[in-house]
């Protein structure tokens, strides 16, 4: 299967295109994740000769911002 990769720059490859198709068997695919109190994030990377040529991510926010509402007492 072929996938679209971005800006593959190396000798002998087309230099004049932003993207090109490449057989995914040539790429090393890896996935990772972070899960902590602030976020749950997953990402997928594709490397060619050790260089990242495609990387996507999904961040799910867990932590919010809050304002403390205070109604002062009269003394």
């Amino acid at each position: 299967m072929e996938i679209l990769i971005h800006k593959l720059i190396r000798n002998g490859w087309p230099q004049d295109c932003e993207q090109e198709m490449i057989d995914d068997s040539l790429l090393e695919k890896s996935e990772g994740s972070i899960d902590d109190e602030n976020e749950h994030t997953t990402w997928t990377e594709w490397r060619l000769d050790g260089k990242i040529v495609k990387r996507g991510a999904h961040v799910r926010l867990k932590k919010n911002v809050a304002a403390e509402a205070v109604a002062a007492m009269f003394y």
Partner: protein, 156 residues
């Protein structure tokens, strides 16, 4: 400096002044809000310094407008009215923010919400996450569960 997660202080002041309308409200003897403000979300480089002291959205430290990213960010879907959960008021955009086939101009770790309807593009909040670099692929930022504990914007 680095980006810091925060509800912008100026937004708190403006909330007391009635500057922002994240939801609508029926006639209540004071004012009627029939049109919600447009809230946008923009992505900022890990080298930026966005935080509680911000006042308005600007492009300082934002991803460059390249690689399918447009400066100014994306409009957030706002289909759910602000509400309360016990004594905590909360509001959360009702859909994820996403970019297709994005190539980021650098590593980014912050999303800035701002009121796009306001002339000054008043900033609302800064939300940080792990540093990400995207290369020719999709990036999605999913909102937390909208309740009194995890809603994106809370007044407790």
């Amino acid at each position: 400096m680095a980006n810091s997660q925060a509800m912008v202080t100026a937004f708190k002041v403006q909330a007391l002044c009635g500057t922002h309308a994240l939801g609508t409200q029926a006639a209540n003897g004071v004012r009627t809000v029939t049109t919600k403000d447009v809230v946008k979300l923009a992505l900022f480089l890990a080298s930026a310094s966005r935080g509680a002291g911000d006042t308005v959205y600007d492009t300082t430290g934002e991803l460059a407008g390249t690689g399918n990213y447009t400066q100014g960010g994306v409009t957030l879907t706002n289909a759910t009215e602000p509400t309360n959960d016990g004594t905590t008021a909360h509001w959360t955009p009702s859909a994820s923010a996403s970019w297709t086939n994005l190539t980021s101009s650098g590593a980014f770790d912050a999303a800035v919400l701002y009121n796009s309807s306001a002339t000054n593009k008043n900033e609302i909040s800064v939300h940080t996450f792990s540093s990400q670099s995207i290369t020719g692929a999709d990036f999605t930022l999913t909102m937390p569960t909208n309740n009194g504990t995890t809603g994106l914007i809370r007044i407790a």
